[in-house]
Symmetry: C2
């Protein structure tokens, strides 16, 4: 087991109605906040009204940035920074899924930065301070509610980059499973695939000495596999929504990767290129690419067999490495997700540049089984 | 899944040599500290010299309370408070296992309290403030390094009580598995039994909707079961010591009980009476009582069958409820732990008063299968 520092100070208020606990927590840090949200679904399902009423009741003033898009763009960040500065805010509350939270985090980092926010996305070392962040989660997927990362896109240059800074870790997050009842079947499937991918990216290595972490990975995988289809079949199944929601946070808050050494996130690298060029949900891309990625790994290096067999045996109740891949692909199919790029009308047009960017902007070459541009191209072509 | 608030802000520096990271963390809160430790083994194995050299290097002044006993006593707490006040300290560093850390926590709570420290043990609501706590862990067992609880005994009255206060949560803990190489076979076995008991006390309920938490419990149990015997066989097996150490923290830091509702800790209630009357290691008592406790549960209520079967199947690779009990008892035997009270020279003498105190000072009647004094007596007698 490698050395590590564990520190996840985010307070989580979990369960139906727990939004009521948030204002008191916000007031420890801020009394004038920017609310960040997406396309307005929170106005339809009542969360907006509930939250703003609580803020008024607690004398927390607020301004707003709405319209944050899936795969959040740098232009939204810039707009948010402007509103935040005009209103001299001292905290940010994101209400939404990972995209909204990531946008809020980047605004918090850019608030005090004199240059353009994109500088910080390209070079997070420039981040000197962040405003305190609070979140109300409405989609179980990215884990952004309990981690220090954000992913921001510039659609002009088709760049989609990840940034990290401890200051961007939310002070408090509300996880109310009922808020995800209205998440569509496709978004639920995509979110579940995202959670599973976060776990597999960490799980796939040969560090057997981090046994406890590997068992925790398997516990979280079993949770997703059990509840993904249930949440799709019965959108208001509290048990299913609650388990997926809590698993989403723990899949990527850093706990499972503690002691596992450097995690290279190869499938995320390849997917970020995909959804930077085609506006598809992140989880859809991950679910599609993962089984092909595993097939290529199996061709490249026999050492993956042992780990894939463990996945087959400990998670899917199967035996062989091939069965692990087949089980995973069948599971994603069962969630209603595409297994071929052509189902998404994606062809070879941008494969070359996408593969180049995947290698340039991620740690593919340092992954468990090191990958180069040709490997990425092979996987894209397998997935056609 | 029940509503909950999750908050574990303790920073953990994990791994060989990570003690070097502690002084910088201490300096965020304190520059004049009380060091609390036990019988002096830290002087033999070099941890004392290593830590005090680092403190001097970082200009952190310190005074000392040594000689904290296993099952720490209120008289040590009182002595510590006196030394702490004389030296006007602003932080406490515990170097040791759960007993030392629990003593340090109670000193931190009593520092600013005008009355006698035992008042706070009996009624933790009286705690108004705590000094910041830091720990260097030397035994994997109680999880005190990452939780807000302490257990203190008054040997005059044979009382052994648990207290909780968020202020007693350590700010930072050093978990260096090499520090546990010198832990004896008995202490390693007892510590491992303690960890297992912490998990089982939470695992045993019928809240199936907290599926993720149940799977995490099984992951932690599998970790203990794999590495307990290895650590006893090869005391300097880093992988075994590291996995046990990290599992000890997560078994009781609150994570696995989040969403599981009220946990009554019945076996701990019965064991606290046992080790208040007989100075035996806490884990030895827990390992001894747990299988008898399970047998009585099985007689009292058929609803436990399903859970015990899950334990048998998901952790021990067996099938029936009876096999779960047998596997657990055999496992404790394999660790070299006694399975009968007579092996510890304990007879019926104090059973009546012990059972009374177990019921009085714990939540036995609110446990999954409610228990009364007669049930406790039955279990003690089964264990004779």
């Amino acid at each position: 087991m490698n050395n590590f520092t564990y520190s996840i100070p985010t307070t989580v208020f979990f369960g139906k109605g727990s939004i009521e606990k948030l204002p008191k927590e916000i007031l420890k840090y801020a009394d004038n906040i920017l609310i960040v949200y997406g396309g307005g679904s929170i106005k339809k399902n009542g969360i907006y009204n509930e939250m703003t009423a609580l803020l008024k009741e607690n004398k927390i003033s607020f301004c707003e940035l709405s319209g944050v898009e899936p795969n959040p763009r740098i232009i939204s960040v810039r707009r948010g920074v402007e509103i935040a500065r005009e209103n001299k805010i001292n905290g940010i509350l994101a209400i939404g899924g990972g995209s909204t939270i990531d946008c809020a985090k980047t605004i918090s980092a850019a608030f005090d930065y004199e240059g353009d926010a994109w500088d910080l996305v390209k070079n997070p070392k420039l981040i000197k301070s962040c405003l305190p962040i609070f979140t109300v989660l409405t989609i179980s997927a990215t884990g952004s509610e309990m981690d220090a990362g954000a992913v921001i896109s510039d659609m002009k240059t088709n760049d989609k980059l990840a940034l990290f800074n401890k200051g961007m870790l939310p002070k408090a997050s509300v996880l109310d499973p009922t808020y995800t009842y209205s998440v569509s079947a496709l978004q639920t499937a995509s979110g579940t695939a995202d959670i599973i991918s976060h776990i597999l990216e960490v799980y796939f290595d040969d560090e057997d000495d981090a046994f406890m972490q590997n068992k925790i990975c398997e516990a979280l995988l079993k949770t997703c596999i059990k509840y993904g289809p249930k949440a799709i079949e019965t959108p208001d199944d509290y048990e299913a929504r609650a388990n997926l929601m809590w698993a989403s946070s723990w899949a990527i808050n850093g706990f499972i990767s503690c002691g596992k050494g450097k995690v290279a996130w190869p499938v995320h690298g390849m997917e970020h290129s995909l959804s930077a060029y085609y506006d598809i949900p992140h989880g859809v891309g991950l679910a599609l690419l993962t089984p092909y990625f595993m097939e290529l790994m199996l061709q490249k290096d026999v050492k993956v067999i042992k780990k894939f067999e463990e996945l087959a045996q400990n998670v899917f109740g199967k035996n062989t490495a091939e069965e692990a891949i087949e089980s995973l692909r069948n599971y994603f199919k069962k969630l209603g997700l595409p297994v071929k790029l052509k189902e998404l009308n994606i062809d070879k047009t941008h494969f070359e540049i996408m593969a180049e960017k995947a290698v340039e902007y991620s740690s593919l070459k340092y992954s468990w089984i090191p990958m180069d541009k040709q490997d990425v191209l092979t996987i894209y072509n397998m997935a056609l």
